[in-house]
Symmetry: C2
């Protein structure tokens, strides 16, 4: 991690020179707020309300059923997938949008298990996001497979879990949702393949925040949500990546008619579609897709290397400014091991996050003691991050978080 | 089927006396069109654009992550389910909204198979909507179960399929998507239970069009879409019904964190939620949910018996007027065997539907020879149906459908 002059004047200079600065104008941001929770729910793209209104009022209200063809509704899962593909290093026909991350985890895990007969273990990480753990349990139980969890998603632990030679598939998150740690996708994927296992990567906390290179890393399957760094709207449909080499043989179990080879023949037997479309099941919520498309279109022409550089610098800045608050740093300092969030620890972190919100800075908290701050380079300025970090220091140093009102728990998502 | 005086003057009288007539004002309908395809995609409720805009601009854009609690996002699947419950004869806590019909078929089929160990057959109907067939194949394959399909969903055929005593579950559509035939939910459910099988009813083509009495009929599970007679918007999330008596034991396989007993404890092991919430998996598209909620709210206070009476009379009217066109009637005339659509047959039906559309009447067509016309009593007037039926007679008698332009196939959904 580079040392940076963490002053507001330096931040103003960086903003003035920022080649991505213009992208902030693409978003509607609430007045007087610094929003560091884009890793949970991305901000509203300015184009989204108009796109959604057009979908609702013109395509649905006026053209009704005709829009399934005329407005491209039928092909929307593929069209949106093609827009996500360049952000994850995939070919346009390797990604489809539909269903949620949880459901897509099930599809890809079962598909991977079926591609690897004779092996019956799913290797995962104990600290993965709960739905990854739970969907693995659900898929493993139905497939008669077993689970094996590593305590840490590092090469040594993963190697040990793969060495028995019974692992069919390895499921990991590219970025840890609590710590913000970025995993070595290339190295771990190679390790899995050397041990005869396929990989499913969960990209929820990396897609849109940093360059992802699925094909360069030889990844088999991936899933990800679109409502965090892709700014697709609350609960927006998720995506599935399947490497082209698996298209012919991969069989996912949720065999709905949208994944059929000839859906309008209405044949009695299921026959999977040729490409990644076989990972589709049923109709998708087009109203939500319209908002998502607005979010994806912001990325057109964005240089992901510039995005990554700014993201890391914002993280460096936040770490440097908050250092004096004396909170524990959970996120790796090294750039190659860090996603686009910084996590700090304190037993009273919940009250601190609440007190910080009262100062207009939105972060979030995860039990038992993790304060999380996400950095979305598309709409955050250096001065925003400086001000937010300074506010956190002030909250901690002033002790204002000790106000009992801040300790009162509301459900946090 | 009652004989009715199928004249325009009679229709005008019926419209003037129609207690549901005021509901038409709740919808935006394109000028100069009679829309008889509400059985595929319902019309736009006037409240939907405003609800969606509020979700997008205020709840998402302004309040961002706070809306998960403050705007009721987390509980939306249950809140929407409670609004569907009275339309299907269920208790509010027996229905949840989330995922699509195909995915929910998978969940309920697997749950039913697990509740009935020692039996391994899923009985279905050969003519069911393709995704019902395909999802059954997918679920059966993964569970090591077998399929058995009846050629006709009548009591005799179903009894024969159940008699071997190996059927774990029976899946039927309440209304046949092509013929519009309404099945005897009470009698067939009883028959299944007498033979030790559970039932899953697909309500896609009945919910919102006629009273459904799931609990009075002793139904175990049901699924249905919300974008047809419920007017929830294209691809809007579907719903799942699970009878309360199964809540404690039912285990569906898509065990995502939204179905967890304590989702915010982030525990390592899955534990299903107490009630029907265990049928949830992951986050749902809130933007689409907002449109759906507008559609459901139209039903508040609507007397479903009146709705049913009008629906049947509209069907009677359409059949009476189109009789002279000499097309084959595929739909049962008897009220107790008819849903809310009328299907006619002709080898050149496709061209006829296209020619009819050129006259401003939207119906649809299903291979090989089925012309389908849906009747939505919420927004259709008697005069609309009379004019549409008269236009179909004119199309057939004039031979204008023979114009080669009408024979040219576009993909129809």
């Amino acid at each position: 991690m580079a040392s940076i002059p963490a002053t507001r004047a330096w931040c103003e200079q960086r903003d003035a020179a920022d080649p991505l600065a213009g992208l902030r104008a693409e978003f509607t941001l609430p007045e007087g707020i610094v929003y560091l929770d884009g890793n949970s729910l991305g901000a509203l793209p300015k184009a989204a309300p108009g796109r959604v209104a057009d979908l609702v009022e013109r395509q649905w209200g006026h053209h009704l059923i005709a829009s399934w063809n005329d407005a491209g509704w039928w092909d929307k899962p593929r069209a949106l997938g093609a827009k996500i593909a360049p952000l994850v290093g995939a070919w346009p026909d390797e990604v489809v949008v539909g269903d949620g991350t949880s459901v897509n985890l099930f599809k890809t895990l079962v598909a991977a298990l079926r591609l690897n007969p004779g092996r019956d273990v799913v290797v995962g990480e104990a600290g993965n996001f709960p739905t990854d753990l739970y969907m693995t349990q659900g898929a493993a139980e139905l497939c008669g497979a077993r689970e094996r969890r590593v305590d840490r998603a590092d090469a040594a632990a993963i190697r040990a879990a793969l060495e028995p030679g019974d692992a069919a598939v390895l499921l990991l998150s590219h970025v840890d949702y609590r710590t913000g740690e970025l995993r070595d996708m290339a190295g771990i994927t190679r390790l899995a393949h050397e041990h005869g296992a396929l990989v499913v990567w969960d990209l929820c906390h990396s897609v849109g925040a940093l360059p992802v290179e699925l094909n360069a890393c030889g990844v088999d399957f991936a899933v990800g949500c679109t409502y965090k760094y892709l700014n697709g709207g609350p609960g927006a449909p998720a995506f599935t990546f399947a490497a082209e080499r698996h298209h012919a043989a991969a069989r996912q179990p949720l065999t709905g008619w949208h994944g059929h080879a000839r859906p309008f023949d209405f044949t009695a037997e299921y026959a999977p579609a040729e490409g990644v479309s076989r990972f589709l099941s049923g109709s998708q919520p087009l109203v939500a897709d319209a908002a998502l498309e607005a979010g994806l279109d912001v990325f057109a022409g964005v240089d992901m290397a510039l995005l990554r550089a700014k993201s890391l610098e914002l993280g460096d800045l936040f770490i440097a400014v908050t250092e004096r608050a004396g909170l524990g740093l959970l996120t790796p300092r090294e750039h190659e091991r860090r996603g686009s969030q910084v996590a700090l620890r304190h037993p009273d972190g919940y009250a601190m996050v609440r007190a910080l919100a009262a100062r207009g800075v939105v972060g979030d908290f995860r039990d038992p003691d993790v304060l999380r701050f996400g950095f979305t380079p598309l709409y955050l300025r250096y001065v925003d991050v400086f001000d937010a970090a300074s506010a956190l220091v002030a909250v901690v140093e002033s002790g204002e978080w000790r106000d009992p009102a801040f300790a009162e728990r509301a459900q946090v998502t």
